[in-house]
Every structure is written in structure tokens, then in C-alpha cells.
């Protein structure tokens, strides 16, 4: 077999046109995407792309997303890659579909194709007299083929739907309380399940009185399989009570953790590590001009995804067939892992995506799906819904990894950076299910590790730099330093379970780089904006830095009045995606808080400008919360963060003013946007704090206690 030509984005692995779109009898078009809605508005953006290329009204597009029976396999919805992979695939698929329909219409109408126009799916000659709609053509037959990507999508200049802000398709339901989330799904005869998790990671169940739980009202099943316990009841409150009773009826032997939250950074930097040189650029002559050298160490704690709605899934088992509803970010990958654990062919399992609460990465979504399946197995034929309790969500979700970043740089006599080095320590950043072949049976699903016949944990992964990087994401600076050396030190031992959290390693790396740039500017006696521009060549990066500074009313050399401060920071996400610079105005009374954040962004062509702005605002506010408040606590026994009281996040009372200014570049490629605010926001706050008080805090979160101790 000759290798087929490479097609754009996810079209390459999903080549059939009718996998992507179909025309329906009611003059609508169904568009299928493997990318899923996680509160980022992606499904609306995909609908815009399809409507644009097909020349149909946005209201005619019906979206289907994330379904192993229906949609293409586009991997995980993560890493701000959706527009890149899924958007480009849809563009080409729809452009080709339109072309095929046009050719067929040309024959039937006996008008040359280049003399035809399409308006809302109606193809006509310039006289508008002879016409045919997509729906009257043999569309099913025409789309029954493989894509070639030979038809070029429209140039940006002809876009009318893409590039205009579109109202999100999902918001009306959410504002009126219409059932829409996986948590809201209800199937006939549905039961309620709860998992009963161990008190700590490796705890062994030594005794369990299942009968004490079984006799409670409404309890339909009590499952014990090794260290996995679960309960199923007729009513939800009965399942919750049964879980509490099961916790009392179980005895566990716990084993200690290798460190605690205070010791984690020394722990990480004292392990045996696998080291990767990420970048090494040498200019001996420049290095020889070094007049003074600065060094610093920055840290970020474990951070929880802490979705507002705990993870949830529904499962039904009938005959040999398993059906699962989940808010997983990768339905095919989850199916693969479920099939491994259950020893079933993947074809026997159907996985449907349904929206959950915002996840910001890999939370308990996939784990809840296995919980639901394990409990559904005990009640043959009846569907079981499992929603995690809040304390389990805190204790068991895979956290964003703790990280240490050390920087060293040299200035010449004029205060220019002539040498730069960065070292980063972390665990790998992905513990997600995936379909990659491995030796032996492995799974990323929590309950799988607890079964009597456990499935081994999938080795932790970390995306390579070619895939955007994991722990080393954004570890190279975007600045033009003559010497730069970056090394990633990957730690294998994992004191806590970790996986992808929005922006992965970029948060800590950018926090370190952009804090350190300010430290160097101060050492050079330079203004932070001028100092950044002095070292920046990329014109698009310069443009966002200049715009953010201008919109925030930045004045070089302005001193703080002692009650407030301002700081700037910048990053190009993944060194190749969207550009963002922002200025933070910090207040200190009664407690440290962000008064205003002013950002400038460049994401190339913005498909849905308001959607991009919304995502950026959210990214900034979430990062403010991470930066000022958040840290997962654990001692030598277990994770001790279990409630919102122990894990406060930014409240409405503390909400800042946020402005996002978009530099739209319709002729540039669209660049992922969802995660770019994380690192710059953290650094800009630290820089503003330094401006206000003259103290430099290098450990997140930037709390009052840390400031007092500095």
C-alpha cells in the first residue's frame, strides 16, 4: 500500500468526508468534531468554521462532538490545539464538500461551476433563476469518499462568519438551567453510585463489613474488589449515606508519603533525574562581556484543578455492551483504557461526551467513568450515575505538578543580558489515558490500580518539545539572548498523583523567566518595559508588550505610593502560539489583591474574537487565584486538602477589573489561546508586589505570610 498524502490536522487520521459532515432532510447540516466543549467555546468556533466554508447560515449547523460511535478521533481536547488540529481539518473537509456539491450542481444546472454562487446552501447562477440547494443534490453519495485536501479553504478576506464574534451555542441552556451537563443526564431506571476511596494513595483494605452497608435503606449493591469499594442505591442521598457508612465499616493500613508540602522542593531537586537539554546557544564573545551575575530559585506548589462540579459519569451495561457518558477530554482514549481494564474489545464500549464543569486539564473525569462502569456491572442492565464527592475530588484528582525553576543570568556593563541559564525540576505532566501501545497492561484510571487484580499504572508521560512540551513548556525565553541554556530535570518518583493542568509547565517557567527579567531590569537600573523591548526582536511580541503598557498607562520610573504597585509580564505560549502581555495593578489594603489587569493579545486570526477575549479573561482571573491563594496541602501520610475551606479560590468580592485588547491578524494562522495567561499573570503580580513593597517573592502562592516573612 502506498502511503497516502498527509492531510491537514486531524483530517490525516480521519480521512472520510462523511465522518465530518452530513446534510439532513430538514435543511440543516450535522458537523462532527472530536474536540469537546469544556467551557472554552470550541464547539461554537467549529460551527463557525463549518458554516463559513460551506456558505450556510450558522443556525443551520448542528454540532455533534466527542462520540466513539459518531465523531472522528481527534485525540484529547487539550493544549490549546483544537483550532490547529480540528479547525483545520473541518476547514478542508467543508471546502471540499462545497466543491463537490458545486460540481454536481454545475452539471445539473448546466452552468459552469465558476459562474455559480452559494447563498445559505442554495446554489444558483448569477441570474438567481436556476437554482438547486445542497439538500437537493446527492450529497450522501458525494461525501462518501476520502478527503484530498486539494480544495483551498477561503482566504480570510472573504470571511463573514469566522472572525466575527458569535454567541456561544451552549450559554442559553446554562443561563436558564436547562439540563445540559453530564450531571443532569437521567436514564430510565437510573441508580446512584458512589465510590468509597481509601484514606490515602497506597492504603490497603484490611477489613470491611459490607453487610453493615448492605442493610441500609435503598442500598442495591455494595462492591468490593481488592481495595476498591463502591455503593449503589436507589436514591442519591441513600448512596451518600451508604458511602459514609462504608467509610466507617472499612479499616485501612496506610503507608507514608516520601515528603510533605514543606519539603517538596528540596525533594524534587535532590532526586536522580532524567535530564534533557532543551536549548543551548553559545556565543563566547558575548559571555566574556559578563560584568555581574544574578541567580534565583522559583517554586510552584501542587495546584488543584478544583472543578466547581465534581467529576461525574453514567454507565449502562446490557448484554456484552457498555455505554458510558462522560466529560472526559478524550473519548477514544478513555475507551481504550476502559477496554484494557475490563478485558473487552474496544468495539463493545460506546463512549459519549457530555459537558461537565470546567476542567482546565485532566481532572477526575476519566476516573469517574471507570467507577460508574464498575458499579454498573453489579446491577446488570440498570444505568448508574456516579458523581464524586467534593473531598474525593480534592484528594484524588491528579494535581498540576509542583515545580522548581532555577535561573542564572549575566549582565554586561551596559546592563544587557549576555548570558542566560534555566533549570527546571518536575514530574512529567501527563497521566492521561491514551491509545499508544505499551508493553504490558497499563491504565491511567484510578480504580484500576485498586482492584484485586490491579492493572498497573501507566508510566507518567511528558509531552516532548515538538508537541509543545510538558514540564519544559515555555522554558526557552522568547527574548534574543546571545547565550541561552535550558535543562529539564525530570523526576520519576511521584509523591502525589499529577497530570495536565492548564498551561502545564508554562506557568512555573514563565513565572520564573518573567520575574527574573524584572530582577535583572532592576539590577540594570532599567524600566521593565524598556528592558523587555530591548531584548525582544519578534515584532508581534513587541506589539503586545507596547499595547499592554500603553493601555495600562505605564509610566517609566513611576514610584509606588506604598499602597499599590504595578508589574508587567509577557509570554508567547509554547513559544509558537498566542502572544500575551499584561500589566497588573496591585492593591495592598486590607490584603494583597489585584485591582486591575490590562492585557494585550495576538492569536493570529481570531475565529470568535469575543470567545478568545472571554477565555483570556478567565485565564487571567484563574491565574490570579492560583498566584495569590492556591496550594494543595499534604503531610507525610496523605493529602490534607479536602474542602473549599482548605483550598480557597478567588471570590467575587475579590474580583479585579480585567481588560483584554485583541490585536486581530486575520491573515495569520489562528493560534491556540486558552492557556496563555497563566504564567504571565503570576509573574506580573510578583513584579507588581516588588514595585509596591520592594520585596521579591519567588515562591507561589504570594501570600501575606510570605510577604511578612520576606
Amino acid at each position: 500500500m502506498s502511503a497516502a498524502a498527509k492531510l491537514p490536522g486531524s483530517l490525516n487520521a480521519n480521512r472520510r468526508l462523511d465522518r465530518w459532515l452530513r446534510f439532513n432532510a430538514d435543511r440543516t447540516v450535522t458537523v462532527r468534531t472530536g474536540k469537546v466543549e469544556i467551557g472554552q467555546g470550541i464547539v461554537t468556533a467549529m460551527a463557525q468554521i463549518a458554516a463559513e466554508e460551506l456558505d450556510v447560515a450558522l443556525t443551520r449547523v448542528r454540532m455533534v462532538s466527542g462520540d466513539t460511535a459518531l465523531t472522528p478521533d481527534e485525540g484529547h481536547t487539550s493544549g490549546s490545539r483544537s483550532i490547529d488540529e480540528g479547525g483545520s481539518a473541518l476547514r478542508y473537509a467543508c471546502a471540499e464538500a462545497r466543491h463537490l456539491l458545486l460540481q454536481a450542481a454545475s452539471q445539473q444546472l448546466d452552468i459552469p461551476a465558476d459562474k455559480l454562487v452559494v447563498e445559505d446552501g442554495v446554489i444558483s447562477g448569477l441570474d438567481r433563476i436556476r437554482k438547486l440547494s445542497y439538500w437537493e443534490l446527492p450529497h450522501a453519495e458525494l461525501l462518501n469518499r476520502e478527503a484530498t485536501a486539494a480544495i483551498k479553504p477561503k482566504p480570510a478576506a472573504r470571511h463573514t462568519i469566522v472572525g466575527a464574534s458569535a454567541a456561544r451555542l451552549d450559554i442559553p441552556d446554562k443561563a436558564t438551567g436547562a439540563p445540559r451537563f453530564v450531571q443532569d443526564l437521567e436514564l430510565p431506571g437510573m441508580l446512584f453510585g458512589r465510590a468509597v476511596r481509601p484514606p490515602s494513595y497506597d492504603a490497603q483494605l484490611t477489613a470491611f463489613d459490607a453487610d453493615a452497608v448492605r442493610k441500609l435503606p435503598g442500598v442495591v449493591a455494595v462492591v468490593r474488589d481488592g481495595n476498591f469499594i463502591g455503593v449503589v442505591a436507589e436514591r442519591e442521598e441513600q448512596a451518600v449515606k451508604a458511602r459514609q457508612a462504608a467509610q466507617r465499616a472499612a479499616q485501612w493500613k496506610e503507608s507514608p508519603l516520601p515528603t510533605d508540602d514543606a519539603g517538596i522542593y528540596d525533594y524534587l531537586t535532590s532526586r536522580q533525574t532524567k535530564d534533557h537539554v532543551i536549548i543551548e546557544r553559545t556565543d563566547a564573545a558575548a559571555r566574556a562581556r559578563a560584568a555581574r551575575t544574578l541567580e534565583a530559585r522559583y517554586t510552584r506548589p501542587y495546584v488543584a484543578h478544583a472543578s466547581i462540579g465534581p467529576s461525574c459519569a453514567l454507565a449502562r451495561i446490557e448484554g456484552g455492551r457498555i455505554e458510558v457518558w462522560t466529560h472526559s477530554q478524550g473519548v477514544y482514549q478513555l475507551r481504550h483504557d476502559l477496554a484494557t481494564v475490563l478485558d473487552l474489545p474496544p468495539e463493545n464500549i460506546l463512549v459519549h461526551h457530555a459537558e461537565g464543569a470546567g476542567c482546565y486539564g485532566h481532572n477526575g473525569a476519566d476516573d469517574a467513568a471507570l467507577d460508574a462502569v464498575l458499579l454498573a456491572r453489579a446491577v446488570a442492565g440498570r444505568p448508574v450515575q456516579v458523581q464524586w464527592m467534593r473531598d474525593d475530588e480534592f484528594a484524588w484528582e491528579p494535581f498540576g505538578p509542583a515545580m522548581v525553576v532555577k535561573t542564572r543570568a549575566a549582565l554586561d556593563a551596559q546592563g544587557n543580558i549576555v548570558d542566560w541559564a534555566l533549570d527546571v525540576w518536575s514530574n512529567g505532566h501527563t497521566g492521561r489515558p491514551n491509545t499508544a501501545t505499551t508493553t504490558g497492561k497499563v491504565s491511567s484510571l484510578l480504580a484500576a490500580w485498586h482492584l484485586a487484580n490491579p492493572v498497573a499504572r501507566r508510566p507518567q508521560g511528558d509531552p516532548p518539545m515538538s508537541g509543545g512540551g510538558g514540564m519544559a513548556r515555555n522554558s526557552p525565553a522568547t527574548y534574543a539572548f546571545p547565550n541561552e541554556r535550558v535543562i529539564a530535570h525530570r523526576v520519576e518518583e511521584m509523591p502525589l498523583r499529577v497530570s495536565a493542568l492548564r498551561a502545564l509547565g508554562a506557568t512555573a517557567n514563565v513565572f520564573a523567566i518573567e520575574s527574573f527579567i524584572d530582577e535583572l531590569a532592576a539590577a540594570a537600573g532599567a524600566d521593565p518595559v524598556e528592558f523587555r523591548l530591548r531584548h525582544m526582536k519578534d515584532p508581534r511580541a513587541r506589539a503586545v508588550i507596547e499595547l499592554a503598557a500603553q493601555k495600562a498607562g505605564w509610566r517609566a520610573g513611576a514610584a509606588s505610593d506604598g499602597t499599590s504597585g504595578r508589574g508587567i509580564a509577557f509570554a508567547q505560549y509554547k513559544n509558537s502560539y498566542g502572544y500575551l502581555a499584561l500589566v497588573i495593578e496591585l492593591g495592598l489594603e486590607p490584603d494583597i489583591h489585584v485591582k486591575r489587569a490590562v492585557a494585550a493579545i495576538d492569536v493570529g486570526q481570531a475565529i470568535n474574537p469575543d470567545g478568545v477575549v472571554n477565555q483570556t479573561e478567565g485565564g487571567i482571573v484563574q491565574s490570579i487565584s492560583w498566584t495569590l491563594k492556591e496550594q494543595v496541602r499534604f503531610d507525610r501520610e496523605r493529602v490534607t486538602t479536602r474542602t473549599w475551606e482548605e483550598y480557597p479560590i478567588l471570590t467575587f468580592a475579590e474580583a479585579p477589573q480585567v481588560e483584554v485588547h485583541l490585536i486581530n491578524r486575520p491573515d495569520e494562522a489562528p493560534l491556540g489561546a486558552g492557556e496563555m495567561a497563566a504564567g504571565p499573570t503570576a509573574a506580573a503580580i510578583a513584579n507588581a508586589l516588588h514595585h509596591a513593597l520592594g520585596v521579591r517573592i519567588r515562591d507561589l502562592p504570594l501570600t501575606r505570610e510570605r510577604i511578612a516573612a520576606a
Partner: protein, 156 residues
Amino acid sequence: MPEATTLKVNGVRHTVCAEPDTPLLYILRNDLKLKGAKFGCGVGLCGSCMVLIDGHNVMSCDTPLWAAAGKSITTIEGLGSLAAPHALQRAFITEQAAQCGYCLSGVIMSAAALLERNPDPSESDIKQALARNLCRCGTHTRIIKAVQRAAGELRK
């Protein structure tokens, strides 16, 4: 023991049979099929489950059924619908004030209670009124704008 309890929800009387200590949230979601109020924490710390009881915003996850008996309860579904949205719901759509939207019905119910007692709230009044609702997506600024917009519309 389960007991028959009568509640008035969104203007309609319902009798449900459940243990008196059952959280009102589960009664609304599972017995009355009103899925608007959400489970977030179950212990009164996040506001996802907010409803109005006799006009006051209350967390339904830590309100037992017995305490709601005979009271008048309003959920997000009772505020308005897709076909006939309340000014707040319209404003949230106009401002595109959601990311995941899981917090939304709780937030909107707190805002509804606020506008009921204070038709012309300042920004700081709005922030204080929403202080018991958590939003993890960081949609705070748009949500505040949406409440301001709704207040303006209702005053017209």
C-alpha cells in the same frame, strides 16, 4: 423513615416522599427533575446549589427537606425559560457571561435575591451579594457586568 412532605416549587405544589433529612438539592434534581441547581460541594461552601426560599437565597445542599416544607421555593427554572427568559438570564446571554456555566444557576439565583431587595446595586453590592458563590472559570468580571445590565433593564 421516609415521610410525605409538601413543597411549593416555582409556584406549583408537590408532595414528595423521602427521609426528612434529605438535602433539598436532591429532591429538586431527582424527584422534581429540576436540574438547574447543581451539586458542587454538598456542605454550603460553593453556592452551586443556590435557590430562593421565601425570597432569600439559600444553599439547597445543606437545607434538609423538613426545613423547606411548606415554604415557597424558586429555582432557576422558575425564574424564566429559554422561551421567556428573566432579565438576568437575558443579560447573561447578552454578556456571554459563562465559560463552563456550571456555577451559573447558583450565581443567577443569588443575583435575583439581590435585585429583589436592591434594584440599583453598586458594583461592590454585587460583589458582596455573590461572595458565597464560587466560579472556578474566572468569569467574575462578565458575571458582574451581566448583573449590572439586568439591574438596568429591570429599572426601566
